[in-house]
């Protein structure tokens, strides 16, 4: 059950998983570190180790003590399909990523494919949601292509979907140039 290194990779893989298995579920866990005595001990040990390392590097360790008092929460995103047994995870503790991740989850929920997530570009693609024709002229074409592909049946869905995906991304590239 891998932790993916970047949010982009996580979202991309999740989009692929959702395409293959639309009934996958996505869980977002917002969690503070455990306060069980054993867990606390471990955390303290880790912290002291880190502090020692920092002390070796820079001699003023006074600044690090302020961070020890407030536990930093973590946000873990998990896409899981019980039938396939596939589980994708991404973990972060940066508040700056929350908004971006949640909106991306919305796009995933709307059935966006990898191209529609707009991971390559920093700009959010408004056309990612189904029926959202905000983007360019190529967006409605892609949705039209996707609709018959879905109607064709779930088993045959893989190939035509892959086709539309490739086509869409190519078109997008041209559009940007």
């Amino acid at each position: 059950m891998p932790y993916l290194p970047t949010p982009q990779a996580y979202l991309e893989q999740s989009a692929l998983l959702l395409q293959a298995y639309p009934d996958s579920r996505i869980t977002t866990k917002y969690s503070f570190p455990s306060q069980r005595p054993t867990a606390l001990k471990k955390a303290q040990a880790r912290q002291s180790q880190r502090q020692q390392q920092q002390q070796q590097q820079t001699q003023d360790a006074s600044t690090t003590q302020s961070t020890t008092q407030t536990p930093v929460a973590t946000l873990t995103l998990k896409t899981y399909n019980p039938y396939a047994g596939i589980c994708l995870q991404y973990r972060t503790n940066k508040a700056a990523e929350v908004g971006r991740l949640i909106t991306s989850l919305g796009k995933l929920a709307g059935g966006a494919d990898v191209a529609a997530l707009g991971l390559g570009a920093a700009a959010a693609t408004a056309g990612a949601a189904p029926g959202g024709d905000v983007e360019m002229t190529d967006a409605p074409v892609a949705t039209e292509e996707a609709a018959p592909a879905q109607a064709a049946g779930q088993q045959a869905q893989g190939k035509p979907d892959a086709g539309t995906k490739g086509g869409k991304s190519k078109k997008k590239g041209k559009g940007k140039r």
């Binding site: 639309p22 009934d23 996958s24 579920r25 996505i26 869980t27 977002t28 866990k29 917002y30 969690s31 503070f32 306060q35 820079t58 600044t63 407030t70 536990p71 930093v72 929460a73 973590t74 946000l75 972060t92 503790n93 940066k94 508040a95 700056a96 929350v98 908004g99 949640i102 909106t103 989850l105 919305g106 796009k107 929920a109 709307g110 059935g111 949601a129 189904p130 029926g131 959202g132 609709a147 879905q150 109607a151 049946g153 779930q154």
Partner: protein
């Protein structure tokens, strides 16, 4: 299980759930989303030309309950009443608007995460002072 809340009620409950967890700096909040597939036979005949609505759940997984190992809490029986469990259903047409607000609520509520400004500022400050000293 309790019936689904409306989207508005869900947001207010989620806001309070996140803020209490953040204030306590303890426990977890689990947010789950999955398509609400119809279990009726219509879907198997015709593989859903319309996309299913999204079911969104939020719970604290009973992590805000008092520690059962603590002897004080054993006396008053461990009840599951403290567990928060809310859910809502979002139609496909409302997805974009819902997730816009959902992201806002999460951003505002998840205050226990590392803040960007402070971290960056510190890093720069350290780097700057280091350079200055050198």
């Amino acid at each position: 299980m309790a019936p689904h809340l409306s989207n508005e009620e869900f947001f207010t409950s989620l806001t309070s759930l996140l803020s209490t967890t953040s204030q306590k700096t303890r426990g977890s909040v689990y947010l789950t989303q999955k398509p609400l597939l119809n279990t009726t036979s219509t879907t198997s005949d015709d593989p859903s030309p319309t996309k299913p609505a999204i079911l969104i759940r939020a719970t604290d997984g009973n992590t805000n309950a008092p520690n059962p190992k603590n002897p004080k809490n054993k006396i008053e029986k461990a009840t599951k009443a403290s567990k928060v469990k809310i859910s809502t259903v979002v139609a496909v047409e409302e997805l974009e608007g819902f997730y816009g607000r959902y992201a806002e609520v999460c951003k505002a509520g998840m205050t226990g995460l590392k803040k960007r400004d402070r971290k960056r500022g510190k890093g720069k400050g350290k780097g700057g002072s280091g350079k200055g000293k050198a």
